[in-house]
């Protein structure tokens, strides 16, 4: 070991001599350090995996990203579980809105952090839906289970149905196209 190239005490005991493969040696050491740092943060891996998954579904993941930026280690499971619950609910609401043929009116249907806005928008869309002449009893009823909405909307959306004012509506067609696009992206992912 060259005394001239001695590092400070407490640092690496044997510095590498100048060789033709200095960079490879450097790279190997840095890879070990990076692996060590990354492997000590499994909670970050869990969050990063959830982000990649839900981004692939076309959803915004700000809540998970904020958790990822936490400086102290956290338990990722409650965060991920909460996000997944909201994401699943959001997808349900978005499907119902599509079935109703309601315009999104600027309400984001890809952000689980804004679930409340989508809930309100859906409630408005349900009540704004015009009465169907053939079946007036099918108006929204307070306390009705939310699953009744998509079924009713799907039935009303049948092509040729007299009560479906969204049929052949350009906005609805555009919305259907977006949904198709999302499915294609998902399959590719």
């Amino acid at each position: 070991m060259s005394d001239r190239m001695r590092p400070a005490e407490g640092e690496r005991p044997e510095p590498s001599a100048a060789t033709d493969d200095e960079f490879a040696s450097f790279l190997s050491d840095i890879a070990s350090t990076v692996s060590e740092v990354m492997d000590e943060a499994p909670w970050r891996r869990r969050l990063a995996g959830a982000i990649l998954r839900w981004e692939g579904e076309g959803l915004r993941t700000r809540r998970l990203e904020r958790a990822l930026e936490s400086e102290a280690a956290i338990d990722p499971e409650p965060v991920v579980a909460g996000f997944e619950r909201d994401a699943a609910r959001l997808l349900e609401l978005a499907a119902e809105l599509r079935a109703l043929g309601a315009p999104n009116a600027g309400v984001p249907l890809d952000d689980p952090d804004r679930l409340a806005e989508v809930e309100r928008h859906l409630a408005t869309a349900r009540t704004a839906r015009p009465p169907e002449p053939a079946a007036p009893a099918s108006r929204p009823v307070a306390g009705e289970p939310p699953t009744a909405g998509p079924e009713r909307g799907a039935a009303a959306a049948k092509p040729g149905s007299a009560g479906d004012r969204w049929f052949a509506n350009a906005e609805k067609l555009a919305w259907d196209w977006v949904a198709l696009d999302e499915r294609v992206v998902e399959e590719l992912g």
Partner: protein, 203 residues
């Protein structure tokens, strides 16, 4: 600068070579550039005067490839050493993750070394960075010259914080990668400490 981006799975590490004029900062980068395979490096950008002194800065991007699933990149910069380019130094220092302070070991250069080291600390403080906890490594360069300051003298002047320090002769390449390895590991260990864990030195 974000050191680790888990969402995009990238690690970007900005390391700045700081020090007085003609201490060998650019020579460090030139040696590294020469040793790194083409596939792992970008173009080294240097803005120099007619007399080969760094006017603005040098920049050398290194792509270390994918490590533990993270695309790992190092960005190496130098600052101009001359006193009157302080604004440039501040600009280059912004967002740095670590600093290599390159000191000139020749007798009679201690005052310049000290002035530049003080300037580094002032500029870090101006940017809201505490120099006492910021990753810094010292490189005592030009140790191959026949007449140099003893190591003890260099330490007394610059290393009162017991920072990692390396002897080097950047022109021949001696100690250049040891220094780069030293600052890289210091930066990464600090990253781990920030998350409440400890990481031992590799190797």
């Amino acid at each position: 600068m974000s050191l680790v981006n888990y969402a995009t799975r990238e690690i970007t590490c900005k390391i700045v070579y700081y020090g007085p004029g003609r201490s060998g900062k650019t020579t460090n980068l030139q040696y590294i550039h020469a040793q790194v395979p083409d596939s792992r490096k970008g173009q080294m950008v240097s803005l120099a005067t007619e007399t080969d002194r760094t006017l603005f800065f040098d920049f050398l991007p290194l792509d270390l490839g994918t490590i533990s699933g993270f695309q790992t990149r190092f960005q190496l910069y130098t600052v101009p050493g001359q006193v009157y380019y302080d604004a440039t130094r501040k600009l280059v220092l912004k967002g740095a993750d670590g600093v290599v302070f390159v000191a000139d070991s020749q007798p009679g250069q201690q005052e310049e070394n000290l002035e530049s080291f003080r300037n580094l600390q002032v500029n870090l403080l101006e940017q809201g960075v505490d120099p006492r906890s910021f990753p810094i490594c010292l490189q005592y360069n030009k140790r191959d010259l026949p007449d140099v300051e003893p190591m003890e003298s260099m330490d007394d002047a610059l290393n009162y914080r017991e920072l990692p320090r390396f002897e080097a002769s950047a022109l021949a390449g001696d100690g250049v990668f040891d220094t780069l390895r030293g600052i890289s590991e210091t930066v990464l260990r600090q990253l781990a400490q920030r998350y409440g864990r400890t990481v031992s030195a590799t190797g």
